[in-house]
Symmetry: C2
Subunit: 249 residues, 2 copies
């Protein structure tokens, strides 16, 4: 059988194409992350990153619950639900969102201010809300595929923990607990998510939709760093109403 130019890719070929999107477009390559990991951020810039990234953290359970709410497949729901409890915890004082607030306090931010999301860059909101909406409106397969940036996260988190410990006085076991926990959680999540996508993308059209979904997700992440970089690093133009770091004497 001769292969047409739009044959269904093999499982291996399709996975390679998914991974290639990470290599080309994942936000570990963004100058803001490079600066973060090189110890180049001042306290205000670090605070801006933590504050804005909180908005992303807080969006995650909303998108995961929206995904479960559309899934007829009970096995998918049973698997996916741990993502919500990972972020929300099972009781006050637990969970990834709580751990992020501990990080926020560690970098000198007021916990309630961060939790209020006042001062978050509009571009952060728009990107995170685009992600939630994508998961609510696209096919379930595309929604799952958009989660696969997690394939690339453990490497980034490992680098980050070492880099933060090396360069920033606020970094310790307590403030970095979010990242350490994700090192364990993300590989479990991605094993299921990747398997699901490889199993269910059974036509070239669906495979291409999955690649587009993953590509979209890298845009969501990248554009958040663009906005941080523009507002707080170069040209350091803070949009009206957004967080203004305190200038320390």
């Amino acid at each position: 059988m001769s292969r047409s130019s739009n044959h269904t890719w093999t499982r291996r070929e399709f996975e390679q194409r998914l991974r290639a999107i990470g290599a080309a477009r994942y936000h570990d390559r963004h100058p803001f992350h490079i600066k973060l990991h090189e110890g180049g951020l001042n306290q205000g810039q670090m605070q801006a990153w933590v504050l804005n990234r909180f908005y992303y953290q807080k969006s995650i359970p909303l998108k995961d619950a929206s995904l479960i709410g559309r899934a007829d497949d009970i096995a998918l729901r049973r698997e996916w639900i741990s993502r919500i409890t990972d972020h929300d915890g099972k009781a006050p004082g637990e969970g990834g969102i709580e751990r992020w607030l501990v990080l926020a306090e560690g970098v000198g931010l007021d916990r309630d201010y961060v939790a209020s999301c006042a001062g978050v860059l509009p571009a952060t909101r728009f990107a995170c809300e685009a992600y939630i909406r994508f998961v609510r409106e696209k096919s379930l397969l595309e929604a799952v595929a958009s989660s696969l940036t997690e394939m690339f996260a453990p490497t980034l988190h490992k680098t980050r923990i070492a880099a933060l410990l090396e360069h920033y006085p606020f970094a310790n076991d307590r403030t970095l607990a979010y990242f350490r926990t994700r090192l364990v959680q993300a590989p479990e999540d991605v094993a299921f998510g990747l398997g699901y996508v490889l199993d269910h993308a059974d036509s070239r059209e669906k495979q291409e939709q999955c690649l587009a979904a993953l590509s979209f997700k890298t845009d969501v992440l990248w554009s958040q760093l663009d906005a941080l970089n523009h507002a707080y690093v170069t040209p350091a133009l803070i949009p009206p109403g957004a967080f203004v770091p305190e200038v320390r004497a």
Copy 2:
């Protein structure tokens, strides 16, 4: 009667507060616009602006139709429908979107490329889609209030026409037809929109919702220029997949 701290503002006071948002947050103050109007953009930067702003133009009829689709008030629908035909025209070759494509050709872009929206910055998409969603999901009053950036547009368009004619060889009656037409259309639209908001925001709570809606809309506009500035001016970091201007010999 003594006024509580959350009394309903008078019509005049409320209108002043709406206008104050323009003075503080409208994107005429953004460095990218200042550069545009000073003749400081090179051809690639001008193309990037026209290309990205096309995505905004093409979003407008979608948000206006969504607004009409939620309005029980036939008077509002009759008034609002001209916004759709202003942008879409009544026949091929007519309307604001067509005039924007003429501008795009004038700055050296391929019409079909622009119309395809390939190469548009993700942040542009996220901002414009946030606007459409806002109009679909918030109250009708807030949806109308979010259109009131048009109060500030005619001044900007007047400045722009003069500035483009002075500084850029591509500028002529044909390529600038979009802006000239808006000089006539926007004041008509805003007279109705402002009247509607002043009439229907009959409590302090609704007035504050309208201020927030207008403020949100200024964020939508401002964040688009932030993204353009970051990608094409400073630090000139083009996100993966976005338009890359041709380098001319």
